[in-house]
Amino acid sequence: MKVPLAWRILAYDKRRTGLALIGIFMAILLVFVELGFFYAVPRGGLLLYDNMRFDLLLVSDQYEYQAQPGAFPLSQLDRVRASTAVEQATPIYFGFAKWKGGEGGVWPDVFVIGFEPATHIFIPDSIEQQLSVLERTDTLLVDSATRPIFGPLNAGRVVEIGARNMTIGGQYVLGTGFMGLGVALASAPNFARLFPGRGLDMVNLGAIELKPGVEAESAAGDLRQASGSGIQIFTRRELEAHETAYWTTRTSVGIIFGSGLLISFIVGIMIVYQIVSTQVGRQLPQFATLKAIGYADRSLVWTVGAMSLLIVIAGFVPALAAALGLYSIIRDQTLLPVTMSEARVFVVFGAALVMALASALLSVESLRRAAPADVF
């Protein structure tokens, strides 16, 4: 069996093996951190949608991304409602207003989301449980991730927003994503009072829930035909693809994290190569001895392969654990929704294994050529 030999080689010089493990650990951690940032950007962009109940989203044909959606007439939603496939079609309103009660007298801009509370369109329990609060006149709920620059967010505080005194009814937990530094929820009537100039006739998003058993793709096709021009309808899948494409290709944030990811991958590969090849190179005299006493090349290749796999596995497990820990710190510190996915774990693990094996085989090539006598 080759593994015991590989194991003994690694266990012999513990300090050096430890060093190699730390190196592999850092390389994998680096890749995980950059991957986390890269995927957090579109995830942040999708945050609001991820917390809403809908099957199809009706938006203006000027829709850019969630925070710049354009607007369409409310009557479009009435047409959609007429379809037998549709259970509910809810208008969502967006507006920016001056929050005239920030820290140190500043007036930060607050992103206000208006909706009809009875529609139960938002998933978080903290919103569901406070729907009755929203029904009160001139009351709103603020997102718990709203930045300190907005001042205290305790329930009962009255803040002048735009030209109106609004009462904070409580907080909910959803996250501000890329909507702004502060986000608030308001009932549609309160929203209309807050933005008197715009009324409720122009809608930013139409959240469509389909009747149970209706297939989203085909329903979307039917609704597109039935509704007029000037709007578009996304299924969940299409919406996710659209937002992800926007954040990764159209914003500098996506490009920055994308190139950061690319560089971290290259650095990670370099480290794995460097470590594995040093580990193998160190053992050349021993391998040459084995060769001299009759071990076949293939058996040595197996040993080297087993060695590199052991190092990678031993480095990967703590790196994954550290990455998860770091993710939760990053989530707290930056409010970016940095999360791990199974697919990413497998891809990084696979990439590390392939890289380690490739490095091992490259460095063992010199062993293959080596005449045992030359090594000493």
Binding site: R16, L19, A20, I22, G23, M26, A27, L29, L30, V33, E34, F37, Q62, E64, Q68, G70, F96, K98, K100, G102, G105, V106, W107, P108, D109, R147, I149, L181, R250, S252, V253, I255, I256, S259, G260, I263, S264, I266, V267, M270, I271, Y273, Q274, I275, S277, T278, V280, G281, R282, L284, P285, I330, Q333, T334, L335, L336, L362, S363, S366, V375
Partner: protein, 404 residues
Amino acid sequence: MCSEETVLSIAPSPVRRHPKGFQPGSVPLARRNLLANKPRLLRSACGIGFAVLLMLMQLGFQQAFFDSSLEVIRRLDGDLFLQSIHKYQFATRDTFPRTNLDAPRNLPGVASARPLYADWYNFFWKNPFDDKIFLVRAFAFDPDGPVFSFAEVNANRAKLKEANTVLIDRQARRFLGMDRDPAEAELNGTKVKVVGSFALGPDFQSDGTVMMSDRTFASLLPGPAGSPSQVDLGVVKVGPGVDAAVVRQAMTKTVPDTIAVFTKPELVEFERRFQADVSSAGPIFAMGTIVGFVVGMLISYQVTYTDLSDQLPQYATLKAIGYRTGYLLRVVLEQAAFNAMAGWIPAWLVSIVLYYVIGQLALLPLRMSVNLTLLSLGLTLGMCLISAVLAVRRVIRADPAEVF
């Protein structure tokens, strides 16, 4: 790729080569040790270089992040600035009455006090090439009272006197179509004539910028929002030889306490602090830099440690024949510094190319600066020297008799 060969080669003994060179320092031992095994030098330079590259990219992104939002403030042609105390960042509208500029304008030492109108939320540009509509940033001023230092803006400002004429940012994001030299476009549903362009570039909030006269601004943004009587920023220039700080003191007293007076460095700092506080760009990029530093330290440690292990007999011999620990330490540190430079120089050169390429792709002001050069050099030397000190303890402990 850096190729791996045996790491067992033995460095030429400096003592043998220079029989008279027993005085410490007379033999370039560090350099010889390094050059003795060129594949290994290449490999370590690659490893350290990539760690440096990682740090340089992260540091560059951080700088570009701040520069992109500070660029427009730096291009304001003024010494002092007036803005509402409610304004928490540059990219938000909080106006004050234009009449509040009259008193500052009449202060001794003040050459001009001009209004800047600005909006980030209400100007929608229709790409003339594909008819798609995008939110853009709009700046407006009296064509007779320029407020920006863009030469092209000032050369074309007279043309802005004609109604519905604009200047556009040819460095704006490509999907706006501003880089394709359109003659006409639509802004807030009104046809506008493009009479020139300037190079500013997007920041993290705006994809593109249009500039226009205060009158066009008011007509494209009807109602109180676009009214020329409410200004977003007062741009004040002092006369030649006048100390802006002195004028600032007098000005603070003449304006209502709802208006704050900034010098240019203060305004830049105000914005930088805001961006740092809210964006978490600082921690994000710092994390990348730290990881690069630790990775570089590990690689450098491994390089030095391997080298010391392989040459332990030689070092022990040197010790045995009377070289002091201090000398050996110096050799090891010198070697680490050489390694650092061998990694840093190529990484620095590559990062200049990468800055350019990514800067063009992301339209970010990614530029190599003296700051970045010195900071990355310092970090590189730091990580290599620290790891060398950690690794060298073994040599210091080495008992010549035990090594053989």
